[in-house]
Structure formats: structure tokens, C-alpha cells
Amino acid sequence: VAMNPESAQEDVAAVPAGAAVVYDAPLALSGARADLLWYPVPFDELVAPVTGEARLRKLLRNMVYVGTLARLLDLELPEVERAVGRVFGKKAKALELNLAAARAGYEHARAFARPLPFRAARMDATRGKIIVDGNAAAAIGSMFAGVTVLAWYPITPSSSLAEALIAQLKRLRHDPDGKATYAVLQAEDELAAIGMVLGAGWAGARAMTATSGPGISLMSELAGLGYYAEIPAVVWDVQRVGPSTGLPTRTAQGDVLSTALLSHGDTKHLVLLPGSVEECFSMAVEAFDLAERFQTPVFVLSDLDLGMNTWMAEPFTYPERPIDRGKVLGRAELERLGGFARYADVDGDGIGWRTLPGTDHPRAAYFTRGTGHDEASGYSEKPDVYEKNLQRLARKLDGAREVAPAPVADGAGAAVGLLAYGSSDFAVRESRAQLQAERGLATDYLRVRAVPFARAVREFVAAHERVYVVEQNRDAQLAGLLKLDLEPALIGRLRPLARTDGLPLDARTVTDAILAQEGR
């Protein structure tokens, strides 16, 4: 690309034969070599109508060629616009100007008779990729997880997850005689939705619901019942901006802390944090296996940006692991054992064995309750019985640290670490490139994918002098969960970088914040 009058000539001389040169028309370079493909672009002409401000023109020229290249590379205009949107998302005016410039470049390029030779190569790169939104991915994943009960109540931005799942189930989960191998109900509200899911999970279904912040709050009491009575359930929280009704059509990561601690008393939950549409698919499957294995509600925290926007992604891969229904005793085992105690820690992992209602054995039944109970699920107020049971519950969830999706690390040996999760991944990866490119600041990156945290999270913090915890909320919520979990010596290394204004996180914000703190 030759736009700079000073260097244009040399640049052109340097490029290999067959290369394509996009150049500023006034430079009239095309005569220089015959073995190149020439693509003249009258940058000023194209920029002129976009803005009157000379100051801006210069910047916008770059945007024009972005548009031109995009067209030459056969990208779709919407894709380009989304990319631009992500960069300038926050500055409405700038966004508008740059979009206009990009479009101008794009349109201009349509005129070129001669397509790029390696256009095809570019296509190979995208060939095989799919385009899908996170909610649809989660819906497909849930179906392949073998979901049997969906109870939901509409709320933006989670409705499309339930609706996509319903469409899939209608299409693919009916017997030849038309009978359904699933049940879907639109509940009257979220208290009912989680209640139906817990009732179904208790009876042995793979039951799920999808909601957003306000719904999560309404589920608080029953979430505690699920934790204490140990009932599998999968709850998707496609996060939007809070507090309260907040901004239903904007994105945030504001429910992390309150969801991990949802409900009164000493309640804690298993939380998954998908960071891509691929993970919306894969974690939809894992969530059910974890919920049944650990006999507890699993909360999957997506967000509006991930869930409702479409992304380019790798094709989903068929779940290799067979469905894990967890510890369930059937008639035969009961016959052999002669009975069981629902909450006895027979295996030392804090997870008891359960039976499903309807199991045809006189000793299959037990009494599920949200009140204090002993190993045989009888009511007990005995101090030691209560304490022992509560400690077991803590131990049980600790067991999930190394079983839940492991954090994803990138880079090693840098002094500075970046720690993030969910939809912040896009911006963080771009930011790392900016830090490297602009100031030569090398960083390592750990993307957390589940709470409670894997040991690797602790090790990542231990291995870096400074760990910037990037997230999209006001109160540095994941950093808070880390503080509750890490040994004090490591907490000092955390540098919360939390912000939220409803727009998807953009790399520039992250980069500038880090540079400021790094004093570069």
C-alpha cells in the first residue's frame, strides 16, 4: 500500500513481482513497474465528501484503504463495519466518519476490473469457518448435551437462546410418531422457571433455563435450594447492563460476583465463562455434565455482545465424551447395596449418590429438603451434623476446580499478565498486539473459564509481577472473586481494570489503561 509521497517510490521498487499495489491515484505510480497489479485510489477525492475538517481527512484516508482492501479481499461490508464499530464503538461521531470513509473505499474498489490473485487464498482461510451468534451456539450445544426440559421466561438478551433451542428441538427431537423427547415451557416468571428446572433436575431430567440479570435476582431463593438440596440445573445468564432493569440492549459482565454467591446463607455456585461462540457451544454441553456430576446448579455467564452479535467461528465439534449423568443409583445397585444414604460422602469427593423418583426399589426413596439434614436426608438441627454437611458442600465444589473448563494461557515469561474472561477476549487479544507493536510491551494472557478457579489461575498470578484483570463492570467483580480465593501474598499483584458503559470492550481502552499504569 503506497500512500506516502516520500516513501512510495522506494516501497514500490521493493515489492516482489506479481504483488498488488494500492496507491494514492495522484501519485500516478502505475508506470513504475509492469510486473505489478495496480489499484489506484483517489483518497482525497473519496474523503472530501466525508468531512470538511482537514485534520480528520488524513486519518480517514487510512480508513478508505481499509475499505478498499476489504473489498479486494472480498470481505463483506457488514463485517468491515462491525470491525470498525468495535474500534470506534465509543465515539459516535468518529465511528460515523470512519464508517463513511471505509464505505467510500469499499465502493470505489468495486470498480476494479482486475481482482486480486490471492483473493482465493484469502477465501481458503475463511472457508470452513461458520458465522453464528452465541445464543444460537448455546442452543445447538444444549441440544447436543441432550437437554430434555427447557423452562424459560422471555428477557432480552437471552430470549433468542431459548427460541433458537426451541427451533432446533422442534426440528430434531421428535420421534417418527411425532412425540417429543423434550419438554419446553414458557414459565410465568423466573421464579417459576428455576423452580421447574429444579423439579425436573430432581426427577432426573437435563433441565435448563436462560435469563438475564433481573431473572437471576429472582432466582436467588431457589438457587440456594438447588445448592443445599444438591440438584443439577443449568442456568444461562446472558448478561446485560445493570443495576436493576438498566440497559437491556447493552452489554456488560456485571452479574459475575452476585451470581457466584447467589442466595443467602453460605451459598456458592459453579460458574462457567464462555469467551467465544465456540465455547457457547462446548460449555452448553459441559454445563450439563458438570451439573449432574456435582449435583448442583451451574451458571453459564454469557453476555449480549457474545450472545446476540454474530461472529465468525470454527465449526462446532461433536462432543467426544459420552453424556455424564453423575452418581445415580438404580434398582440393581440398591438391590446389591441394600440401601443408601443420600448425603453420605462414600467416595471422599463430597458428592453423594442419588436416586431418581420412580426407581422401583423399596429403599430408593429419600426426602429432599432445604432444611438442615443428616446423611440420610432426615431433618437435623444437630450442630455437628449441620457443620459437617456444610463443610462437605464446600469440599464438593472445590473438587470442580480442576474439572471445570481450564483457563486458557497465551504467552509465557513476561512480567506483565493480563487476566480476562468472556467477551473481553476479543479486545484483550487486540490490546496485547497493540502493547507489543506500539510500545514493545510483552504480556502473557490467561483467560479464566470457570469459578471456582483452577490452580493454574493461582500459578499465573504467582508468575507475574502485575496482573491486569480486565472486565466489563464497575466493581471489578472477577478481581473480587480472586481476592476471596487467592492467598493474600498474591492479591497485591492484581491490577483491576474494570469499566462498563454498555458498549463492547474496545482494545484501545485496555491498551491505554495498561500503558498509563505501566507508565509507558
Partner: protein
């Protein structure tokens, strides 16, 4: 958990003694109406010869909601949270439609905190027996008025209830319920017949059972006391439950006797005690209930039944087997299906 059966004299058609239907020892107050209801419930399942393992007991929170611990220990039970039993029951019975579901609730659990879920359960006609053990107060929290307390009824403290009583039966009938009855914990024969009818019904079978709280609401001035109910009980019919295998009785006069056919082929036989009351007439039932409420009568018997209202499980067109235990290959589509979906997303 389950008691082991001794050589019992009387056994049901499964060869099970009534002992196999017993529960743990009650911790409720002696004389509490709820205890009598627990007995009627387990007898009903025993008489119908339903294996206790096929029954799922659900409840909310309250003295009444504790009772599933006091009958049928061989049945799974889910004692949930206050007022949300209907949603737990709905989920459980969708997960396994082959279960006999019975929900036990209180008037506070159903009519105060729980009325929202109650309304929607009835609308859906989720197939289950729903027993409201109605004493007009919050027994477990020591006797505050619930939403079913009658206007003018007093507490021992002298407090007088001024708000209109919420009539769960009238509410359900208005909402399109398919089986609605009222009884009294002290009326062994009527309650047993209605319980059997409710169990045999396919759909939500509401049983509002007046069940006095001897500790907090059995005094003079209470309209939910044993004395008051005995005094004001207005049975609509003399009820008996007729098993499927029994012939239709030849000698009965349709003017005075009627039968309601139930899903499993059994029938509820009604010998009319009140001229012209027709339990298949929704509007008529509502009209009569309003009159009874105004007159301070406790109208008992089969208030309304329409076995043709489709049960929620049927509406959803579920497979016959429990969703809960479908084999993996029936719930996880094959690899090819995913590949096709992926193709469509390219």
C-alpha cells in the same frame, strides 16, 4: 427409610400391607387436622394399589408442607421452598410423566405467597393431586392470618380479619380447572372418596381440605375451627369411589345419583344431597360458591369436574417414557446432524 413389611393381615392388590405406605412419626401438634389428612392420603394410595415407588410427594413450607415426611416413606419427596411447590411439581412431572404426583400445601403456601404459581399450575392443568390443608392461618409461624381467612374471623389475640377470603376452589374453577373439590379433615368417608377420585383424575385435581389448626385457630370466633366447620358443613353429595372393574350400578336414579368417569376407568359416584347442583356446570359452581361464601357455609364435595380438559403432558405431546431416563442416543442427535447444522452456518 422404608419400613420392612411384617406379615400383615390386610394387603392390597399388590400384596402390600398398609404399613408399606406409612411415613415417619408426625412432629405436628396432637389433634392437628393435617395428621388426619396424611392418614387418608396413604390409605387412598394403599386402597388403589399404587406402588409407593411410583408416587412423588411435593410440598412447600409450613406445618402442612411437612406432612409428606409423615406418610409413604417409600415415595420420593421434595420439600421445596415457601409457595413455589407448583413449579417444582411441574418440572418433576414433565421430567417423568409416569409418576403419580401429589402436592401438599397450606393456605398460606398456596393462597398468600404461592397464588401466582398456583394460578399458572391450574391453567396448565399439570396432572397431579394438589391438596391444600386449609386452616386459615400460618401455623408454622405461630398463627397469623392467611389469605383464606374469612372476614370477621378472629385470632386469639383478638385481631379480626377484614379482607375477603380467597377461595382456592372458586379461583381454580374460574381459571378453567378440571377437577375441584372441598372437604374437611374430619370427614373420613368424603375425603377418602375425593382423594381416590383426585388420584384417578388426569389433570390438576384440587382438593381444598379444611384442616383446623388446634394450636392457633381452633377457638371460638374462628371460622376454621372444628366446631365451626362441623356446624356449617354443607355437603353437596354423598360420595363413593367405584373402581374400574366394578360394573356400572344398575339400580340408580339419575335424578338423585350421578357418576363422574375418571381417566383410569374408575368413577366417582355422587348421591346428590343438594337439589340441582351440577358439578359439570362451571358457572353454576361459581354462583353457588359465592352464595356459600356470603352465607358462611362450608360447601364440601365435588364442586366441579371436567375430565375432558387435556392434561399438560398430553398438550406437550411427550413420549410415553420418562424424559428423565431416555437413553443418550435418543437425546443426543448423531454426528451427521451437527455436521448438517454446521454446513448451514457457513
Amino acid at each position: 427409610m422404608a419400613a420392612t413389611a411384617p406379615a400383615a393381615p390386610k394387603v392390597n392388590r399388590l400384596g402390600l400391607a398398609v404399613l408399606e405406605y406409612k411415613g415417619g412419626k408426625t412432629t405436628l401438634c396432637a389433634g392437628c387436622g393435617h395428621n388426619a389428612i396424611s392418614e387418608r392420603i396413604l390409605e387412598a394410595y394403599f386402597d388403589l394399589g399404587i406402588p409407593p415407588e411410583r408416587v412423588a410427594k411435593l410440598s412447600g413450607i409450613g406445618c402442612s408442607s411437612k406432612t409428606p415426611a409423615y406418610f409413604m416413606s417409600r415415595s420420593h419427596a421434595f420439600n421445596g421452598v415457601h409457595g413455589r411447590m407448583p413449579s417444582l411439581a411441574t418440572g418433576a412431572l414433565l421430567a417423568n410423566r409416569t409418576l403419580h404426583g401429589i402436592g401438599v400445601s397450606g393456605d398460606g403456601d398456596t393462597a398468600s405467597i404461592g397464588v401466582g404459581q398456583f394460578v399458572h399450575l391450574v391453567r396448565r392443568n399439570v396432572p397431579m393431586v394438589y391438596v391444600v390443608e386449609n386452616n386459615g392461618v400460618y401455623g408454622l409461624t405461630k398463627g397469623q392470618f392467611s389469605a383464606t381467612a374469612d372476614p370477621g374471623s378472629t385470632l386469639k389475640t383478638g385481631a379480626v380479619n377484614e379482607l375477603p377470603a380467597l377461595d382456592a376452589c372458586a379461583l381454580a374453577i374460574q381459571l378453567g380447572a378440571s377437577f375441584v373439590a372441598r372437604s374437611f379433615s374430619g370427614d373420613k368417608k368424603q375425603l377418602s372418596a375425593l382423594l381416590k377420585g383426585a388420584i384417578a383424575h388426569r389433570g390438576t385435581a384440587l382438593l381444598d381440605v379444611i384442616s383446623p389448626c388446634v394450636t392457633f385457630n381452633d377457638h371460638e370466633g374462628s371460622t376454621k375451627s372444628f366446631a365451626y366447620v362441623k356446624e356449617h358443613d354443607e355437603p353437596l353429595q354423598e360420595l363413593s369411589w367405584v373402581p374400574a372393574y366394578e360394573e356400572i350400578a344398575v339400580d340408580y336414579d339419575p335424578g338423585t345419583t350421578a357418576e363422574v368417569a375418571l381417566f383410569d376407568g374408575s368413577r366417582l359416584r355422587l348421591k346428590k344431597l343438594e337439589e340441582g347442583y351440577d358439578p359439570t356446570d362451571r358457572a353454576g359452581a361459581l354462583t353457588r360458591l359465592l352464595a356459600a361464601q356470603a352465607a358462611g357455609e362450608v360447601l364440601t364435595g365435588l364442586l366441579f369436574a371436567d375430565p375432558k380438559v387435556p392434561a399438560f403432558t398430553d398438550r406437550l405431546g411427550l413420549v410415553e417414557e420418562p424424559l428423565a431416563t431416555l437413553p443418550p442416543e435418543r437425546v443426543r442427535p448423531p454426528r451427521a446432524v451437527l455436521e448438517a447444522i454446521v454446513e448451514s452456518l457457513r
